[in-house]
Symmetry: C5
Subunit: 91 residues, 5 copies
Amino acid sequence: MIIGKVTGSVVATRKNEKLIGSKFLIIEPVRTMQNGEEGDRFVAVDVIGAGIGDIVMVARGSAARLACDRQDAPCDAAVVGIIDDGTILEK
Amino acid sequence: MIIGKVTGSVVATRKNEKLIGSKFLIIEPVRTMQNGEEGDRFVAVDVIGAGIGDIVMVARGSAARLACDRQDAPCDAAVVGIIDDGTILEK
Amino acid sequence: MIIGKVTGSVVATRKNEKLIGSKFLIIEPVRTMQNGEEGDRFVAVDVIGAGIGDIVMVARGSAARLACDRQDAPCDAAVVGIIDDGTILEK
Amino acid sequence: MIIGKVTGSVVATRKNEKLIGSKFLIIEPVRTMQNGEEGDRFVAVDVIGAGIGDIVMVARGSAARLACDRQDAPCDAAVVGIIDDGTILEK
Amino acid sequence: MIIGKVTGSVVATRKNEKLIGSKFLIIEPVRTMQNGEEGDRFVAVDVIGAGIGDIVMVARGSAARLACDRQDAPCDAAVVGIIDDGTILEK
C-alpha cells in the first residue's frame, strides 16, 4: 500500500452510478519519510473516515474495490487504514 | 483514480470488436494542481459524457472495465467522473 | 490505453504454450504528441493486424488478455485499435 | 516481484476490518544491487515473519492477496519470500 | 510484456508455500534497444528454462500467474518467452 497524506477532496456531480455516495479524497504520496518529497496526487475513495491531514495507507488496483461499499465500483484506489501518529518506525 | 484533463479524442476504425461504439478520449494527467505539470497522455473510454476541457477522474486497470458498456471490453482506462468546477479543495 | 507506435517485432521459439501462434510487436509509447518524446518499449500481442509504423492503442494488465486469442494467455499487453491517420485531435 | 529491504513498520488502529490482525512493514525497493539506490517506500503485509533489515521479495497487485491471511483483504503488496544472505547472484 | 535480460538468481528458503519449488530469476529491463539503458531490476518466476544472459519477455500482474506452475501462486512477474537471437527487428 502507498503511504499518503490526505490533502483535499473533490466533488463530481456527474459520475458513474456505482460511485454515487462515495467520498473522494485527494492523496499525496509520501515517498520518503525523511525529506517529505512528494509524489503524484491522485483520488481515492474513503469509507473509513479519513480527514484532511491524516497519513493513510491506500490500496490500489483490484484491491481497492474490496475496500469500497460496492465491490463492482469502478474504483482503483481506496483508503484502507489511517496510520497512528508516531508509529512510523524506521531504522 | 487519476485526475486528468480531457485534451482530445482519437478514432480507430480497425479495433477489437468489443470496443466498437466506444468513445476514446485523450487524457492528460494533472500531476500537481498548483504548477500544472503534465504527465503522460493516454486514451480512456468515456461513457458519462465528458468533453474537451473537462477535468475528470479516470479509473485504470481492471476497474476501468466496470465503467465500460461491455465488461469484457479490453479497456484499461475509463472516465468515471467529471470533477465539478471549483471543488478541488486543498489545504 | 497507451498510444504507441509499432516499431518492430520479436520471435520467441521457446515460450509459454498458451502464447504459441501469437504475433509479438514492439511498441514504443508516444508520451507527448507534440514533441515525439519516447517512453519505454515493450512487447504487445496483436490480433487485429497492426504493422510497423502504425500508431496503435495498447491495453495493458488484465484487459490485455481479453484481446488475445486465448483468454488464459499469460499476456499483459495487447494492441486493441489502430488509430486512424489524422484523427488525433487535441486542443 | 520487487526486491526490497524491510526498513520499518506502521500501526493503523483505524483500518479496513479485513486487515485487522495484519502486520504492516515498510519496504524500501532495492533498485540496483550495486549502488544501493533507493526507490519509493511502500507498505506491505507480511505473514511469513520478515523482520527489519531483511531483504525480501514483495508481490504487488492481485498477487498480493494470495499471500495474505484473507484473500478478500484490500491488500496490494505482500512479502512472499525472505532472500537468503549471499544468494543474490549476478553476472 | 517487458523485454529484459536475465542477470542472476536469488534463493529464498523462507517463502510463501505456494512458491515452493519455483525458480527465481533477476530480470533487468531493456528499456531501449539501441543504448542499452537499464531499468529497475526485479524478480520473475521462470518455468520455461531461461538462463543467465538470455533476453526474455516477462509478463507482469495477473498475467504472470497464468505462467506459473500453480495459478494461486502469489507471483506478479513470470518469464513467458525467450527471445531468439537476432530477431528483434526495428525500423
